[in-house]
Amino acid sequence: MDAIRASGLTKRFGHLTAVEDLDLAVEPGEVFGFLGPNGAGKTTTIRCCLDLARPSAGTVSVLGLDSRAGALEIHRRIGYLPGELALPKDLTARELLDFVADLRPGADDSWRDELCDRFDLPLDRHIGGLSTGNTQKIGLVQAFMHRPDVVFLDEPSRGLDPLVQREFHELLAETRARSATVFLSSHTLAEVDRVADRVGILREGRLVVTDTLENLRRRARRRLEIDYDAPPAPPDALGALAGVASVETRGTTLLVSVDGPLDAVLRAALGLGTVVNVRAPEADLEDIFLDYYRGHREATR
């Protein structure tokens, strides 16, 4: 049973289609990173999982339960950190956590206390006087304190300093270790790189790729720079090869962008002159994502 499953999930707001025909399966015990530019539909997808928003078409299930029919049971077993956390300013952190705990009976107080300790949460100051980072910490604690089976985190690192972020990443690792699932929507590519098992990239409401980061790196566009001892021959044949996105000659250097295997490209390049040097930098994570963000690549699902 998938922890989260979306089939043909579509959500329209009037004429605007926020999410279109989304198919997604997140396995139990997985940390799934959900990425995409602003307005891509990440938050809308999370809201559909949690029955805050109702799908226009398609279905979403969490822990095998339909998002609408099983909403109550799903809510019992999930944790949620909203993207724009707005907590009542007249409460202290302690009072807010008490309030959430009252709505979710049966939680373990000692675990909650431990989390507050780990995140160094100022418990007795009014939320109105807390910084964004401290408020966000409250959000994290309330999302995890009842040991949910699935945790939905929308931009969780907002306002967190590096020390807190590290504590948060440890918490994610512990969550995965007890076979719970984390669905994480984020802009912070480095964070996703560090914590996510798999990544899904959403662009204009459509899921353009879902894969492990390792695979994404392997398939990523490589930018080769080949230096010759003299201006190389016209690289027309090279440009016609499968997987070659672009070819450019700059003086004695050939610049080739390649998606996929390098073998045929390198062989062809050797035929254009005497190669003096080859530079093939490791695919930069940011470049990988930006390529998908900008729509330069559509991967096969």
């Binding site: 949690l50 805050l52 109702r54 049971e73 809510h75 949620y80 707005a86 979710r104």
Partner: protein, 264 residues
């Protein structure tokens, strides 16, 4: 229902200060107005003889020369209802739609609590707030009556306060209903206020002309204002109509809440 209690407490606390201020301020207005009868009473009778019918109608149309008529026109026609409905609308539109729009209900809508229970908590908070302000206003009447030498019986004062309470519950339920069904807090408060003001004017002014007289019964204000509790005691029928309206508004609101997307 444990969750309903937790939510109701929270919703009341969020607006508790406003409730206290309006209640106490309102009680002071009530005491002052009632107390003035002792000195103004006779002059009031002479003044009202010369007022045109339309103005008298706006003030409830009762016999203004008596203590009961005085209280009815000075307080019970729109000052006291205004105070009670102000609280009712603030809680009715604010505790659900208002809090939702502020993002405060994100963790509530994703807790294992049904939308029906969340709605019931809002209705409970609104009702409790109305009861609180009504009781405090009644206390004001109890203090003001001897001060103004009005000599209206406690039973009648209770009856008048109870009718105020039912009006508040109906108005609060309307604000809740619009807010819950649409998620639009300002629209809910504004529309409810507009409906109640219009209802009041329809009630007050339609009897002035033969052709519009019948419209009076259509007004939402009619069940509240048509009986005179200070003179005749409470009218169970009118109270039940207000309660029935409240139930209808609340039901429509809950149904609408289930159908729409919510913020969070």
């Amino acid at each position: 229902m444990e969750a309903v209690a937790v939510l109701t407490r929270r919703m009341l606390a969020e607006r508790g200060r406003m409730l206290a201020i309006v209640s106490i301020g309102g009680a002071l207005v009530v005491i002052a107005t009632a107390a003035l009868y002792a000195s103004l009473g006779d002059q009031y009778a002479t003044l009202t003889e010369s007022l045109p019918e339309a103005v008298l109608s706006l003030f409830g149309g009762g016999d203004l020369a008596t203590p009961a008529g005085y209280l009815e026109s000075e307080l019970l026609s729109f000052v006291a209802p205004g105070l009670v409905l102000g609280v009712a609308i603030a809680f009715g539109s604010g505790s659900l739609a208002g809090s939702e729009h502020a993002g405060h209900l994100a963790l509530v809508f994703t807790a294992p609590v049904s939308r029906t229970r969340i709605a019931l908590a809002s209705l409970a908070a609104t009702t409790i707030a109305v009861v609180v302000v009504t009781i405090v206003l009644w206390a004001g009447l109890m203090v003001g009556d001897p001060l103004g030498s009005l000599h209206i019986s406690t039973g009648r004062l209770v009856a008048a306060s109870v009718m105020l309470g039912f009006l508040g519950i109906a108005g609060g339920a309307l604000a809740f209903g619009i807010g819950a069904a649409t998620g639009a807090r300002t629209a809910a408060a504004g529309a409810t206020t507009a409906v109640l003001v219009a209802s009041y004017l329809i009630y007050a002014l339609t009897p002035l002309s033969e052709s519009t007289k019948g419209l009076r019964y259509v007004s939402l204000w009619y069940p509240y204002a048509a009986n005179h509790p200070l003179v005749d005691g409470i009218s169970a029928a009118h109270a039940l109509v207000l309660l029935a309206l409240a139930v209808i508004f609340a039901g429509a609101g809950i149904a609408g809440l289930h159908r729409r997307d919510v913020e969070g």
